[in-house]
Assembly symmetry: C2
Homo-oligomer: 351 residues x 2
Amino acid sequence: MLPIDPTPTPAIPASPWSPPYLLYLGNAPDHLAAKTARGLAHWRPQWCVGQFRGSECKTTLGLPDLDFRQAVEAGAKTMIVGVANAGGVMDAEVVRHVVAALDAGMNIGSGLHERLTSHPEIVAAAERNARFLFDARQAPALPVGNGRRRAGLRLLAVGTDCSVGKMYTTLAIERELRSRGVRADFRATGQTGIFIAGAGVPIDAVVADFISGAAEWISPARDDGGWDLIEGQGSLFHPSYAGVSLGLLHGAQADALVLCHEPGRAHMRGLPHYPVPDLKTCLEANLEAARLTNPDVVAVGVAVNTSQAGGADNAARICKDIEDLLGLPCQDPVGMGVARIADRLQACFAN
Amino acid sequence: MLPIDPTPTPAIPASPWSPPYLLYLGNAPDHLAAKTARGLAHWRPQWCVGQFRGSECKTTLGLPDLDFRQAVEAGAKTMIVGVANAGGVMDAEVVRHVVAALDAGMNIGSGLHERLTSHPEIVAAAERNARFLFDARQAPALPVGNGRRRAGLRLLAVGTDCSVGKMYTTLAIERELRSRGVRADFRATGQTGIFIAGAGVPIDAVVADFISGAAEWISPARDDGGWDLIEGQGSLFHPSYAGVSLGLLHGAQADALVLCHEPGRAHMRGLPHYPVPDLKTCLEANLEAARLTNPDVVAVGVAVNTSQAGGADNAARICKDIEDLLGLPCQDPVGMGVARIADRLQACFAN
């Protein structure tokens, strides 16, 4: 393999809502409500100049508290509404703050279901300040998937269930590969990932006919020897969302899969009547489906979330059992990193 | 099984765009462009009072040619724009005709990609006449699929490819079962089917997260011993649309599958680089995926389109070969009917 320049941080994308960011937390009642902002602060700290918190905010990202003017002075170009209110809607205070941020000179990006453009005050403020509004949950115009083999190397995170750490795993692999001097770019399919990547498609929000087309669009042909690391969504075994997972699997044309899993989960997320599939069945079903568009796909590892496993010894035992079962490296990206998964990936694609 | 009243024709639905219909052909350049109108005239002749053709129309449905006033006098309540122009858009003449039909007192249903409501003249005419506009390709608000087992019997048509006769097959089974006194209702997932059923969801147009929810919504629990016969879409083996097919398969909770196939097709529709899957692999993959939401699913037959097979002898031989391969009745619904498939269905669900 030719030597590749290390690229430890991504180039700032040329989107109109580019970083640096001010992270808006509003009156987030707890850590979970600020999930999008937290993901950004964790994975792109170099892009985040500060946070804005309302008087009743119950969480912090540990960033400097800045008002809108201070944020602009600190270099912020875009404010990210990175907080989930009940129902994904903006209350009157959020709308007022967004207008003030626009008047201070920032663009706005939002991961809420409710669109920025559905508020006339926000649209008017954007127009009078010539600023840009970006709703991360609104899908762009997309082509239908064509299934044609394209150049480049692609990894996709798949899961036994929803919310098992697919985004975290993919970003951890990006960080690990980059630290080794391998070109690697996270490709986002959800709203938090889109702000982290600076681009992407909210794949659960595209029209059904365009799912695989969206996956093709976010990971186009590349010939620099680097990897596209595609954020997975849902699970082939989740009866609510499996269509999204299959379209993503076909569009990704993945060369490599990483299986993500949370041990000990009693049932599929939100569906008490559905058990979590066993790892072997789940991995084989994903490989079988992936072969339609890439017959050479291989699995390179398993990423587990052992935060509920009751300590490091239990976590190590869980990983050992999975390694014995599947013959693949198994790690918790949070507690153990992903070095051994990356080793396997590089060994499988050494030429 | 309890005796069931025969229901040879469906009740006219209570939608605001209800039949009787005038079928608008405009200046359709050929038979294929009038596919939606042709499907309606074939499957619901009792709902179609006539056709309207432009001066350059190159096809006919064999119905009386009526102008808008004559159609209303003949009882038409809704005009169906059942013609596909290039790009699915309405030219100025179509818009003029739609306005005239509204002024004559009809509601309008359209299967075009471009929405009726995107034309201010059409919206104004609907408002001044208090008529209803229905865009069949616009999906209604839908729930996320929940995967809970629901009462009733459901059959789903699945396919080796797109456009292999899934709608025709499902409607033929509806007709056959009704002729035997079995309650059976076609459930539509595409625009032509929606006009035929008088209700339904254009499943390829729903947002990706709601595919299985849409399938659940169109075939709710029923306890009258009758069948919901669900129109399939796409194929698990079509890399552009398999996500739609899988979500539909999960949401349908099908008790019975019918596999639809066109022998001799050189490759997947629109994708010269993808071969058509073999029937056994395709059927087994569909059964395996369907078991996630209904472990008891069975296959009851194969419907083939032998129109390109070169005659009745070839068609019979093709069916015989498939029967030997899969152990299921195989018929061409157009040339042979679906009696043997219906026999198998009834035999499998005799209690």
